[in-house]
Amino acid sequence: MGRSRFGFSLLEVLMALLVITVALLGMAGTLGPVARLTGEGRARGRAAQMLASRLDRLRAELLAAAPACAAPASGSAWHPNGFYESWSSGALAGRVEVSIITLTPRPGGAVADTIRTRLACP
């Protein structure tokens, strides 16, 4: 009388292990994009902080030049970790129009953010 089969063969167990391993590695692979996105968020936050600081530096220069309403000098600067900013301004009837561009580094190329606004002369 033949014996009935009660369990799994070794080959079946090995195949199951292989499938589980591939699934685990697939899950681990999703962590990469998550980490990249959070890294980009941090970098863009830094860029926003850089823009706010530059805008306040231009405000301070305007205050220093008061009562004249002189447009602050244009310029550019590199910052640690590959951040870059450039700014320009022009006088406009009691106000100064400023434009600031930041470049945020990221794999595959930098991202540019631009802010244009008008500052009232003090």
Partner: protein, 274 residues
């Protein structure tokens, strides 16, 4: 005879294959867990930097000075500062020698919390020349009342100098403020940026960290851009923050070998200077 089991050779091959798969999976998962842990720590550090930078900017930006009420920046230290912090804003609908009434209700009165006698003070702007702000003590908690036109009001029992009263009236802006200190303090081996209300005598409350013991450095400049330490002469401030990751080490796969540092710098121009 039917096959009842596996041979020793098959078992050995299976064990070797399983071991190889386990080693491969472990190394990849360990690397992923390490990156995730490292990223999580850096996000926390970045959050601490942003909170501290945001608090410093929010505290300094609205400051100014006035011929009558003086400077809003009360002390300028290299590791922190003391300044007036606005807790509520509104518009007066009536002014009397012993009472000021501010319009209540949405759109008229905006406050972080209810004004507290002894803790808060008032700044009231004139609506007639000479244009300036008048600083007044708040000896009693405000109470609900009515404006002359019958609309709801908040009544502040204050003592207004007769000379000042002549320049106040309906339309005068009113600010409720308290003196707060923002500075870095040491707890254990780390520094923390903290905030406290001076009038309450409370101990400093942690706001963000961990930072280095010199994790908050403030350099003040006057109108011309020249460095100054006189609070009344400050027109801008350059703030440097230095933080580090809170937990080095870790356990198991997510082991981090060292603390990672990071820094940020922000420039703040005081907005209410004339």
């Amino acid at each position: 005879m039917s096959r009842k089991g596996t041979s020793l050779f098959e078992l050995m091959v299976a064990l070797v294959l399983t071991g190889l798969l386990a080693a491969l999976t472990w190394s990849i998962l360990a690397a992923a867990a390490f990156r995730l842990r490292d990223r999580s720590e850096r996000i926390s550090m970045d959050h601490a930097l942003r909170v501290a930078a945001g608090a410093a900017r929010a505290a300094l930006e609205p400051l100014g000075r006035d011929s009558a009420a003086g400077a809003d920046l009360l002390a300028a230290e290299p590791d922190g500062f003391v300044a007036r912090a606005t807790r509520g804003v509104g518009v007066l609908c009536a002014a009397a020698p012993d009472e000021l009434s501010a319009r209540a209700g949405p759109g008229w009165w905006v406050a972080l919390r209810a004004p507290v006698a002894g803790r808060d003070s008032l700044l009231v702007g004139t609506v007639r020349a000479p244009w300036h702000w008048i600083a007044l003590e708040l000896p009693a908690d405000p109470v609900p009342g009515r404006c002359p036109d019958g609309s709801p009001a908040i009544r502040f029992a204050v003592s207004v100098p007769p000379a000042a009263l002549a320049a106040l009236g309906p339309g005068s802006p009113i600010h409720v403020f308290e003196d707060v200190e923002l500075k870095v303090y040491t707890s254990g081996a780390a520094g923390w940026v903290g905030l406290r209300a001076l009038a309450t005598g409370e101990s400093i409350q942690p706001l963000a960290g961990p930072f280095g013991t010199a994790g908050l450095q403030v350099a003040y400049a006057g109108r011309s851009g020249a460095p100054t330490v006189l609070p009344g002469g400050v027109a801008s401030a350059l703030i440097r923050l230095g933080a580090f990751t809170e937990r080095a080490g870790g356990v198991g796969m997510a082991r981090l070998d060292r603390v990672a540092p990071d820094s940020a710098a922000l420039f703040v121009a005081l907005r209410n200077l004339r």
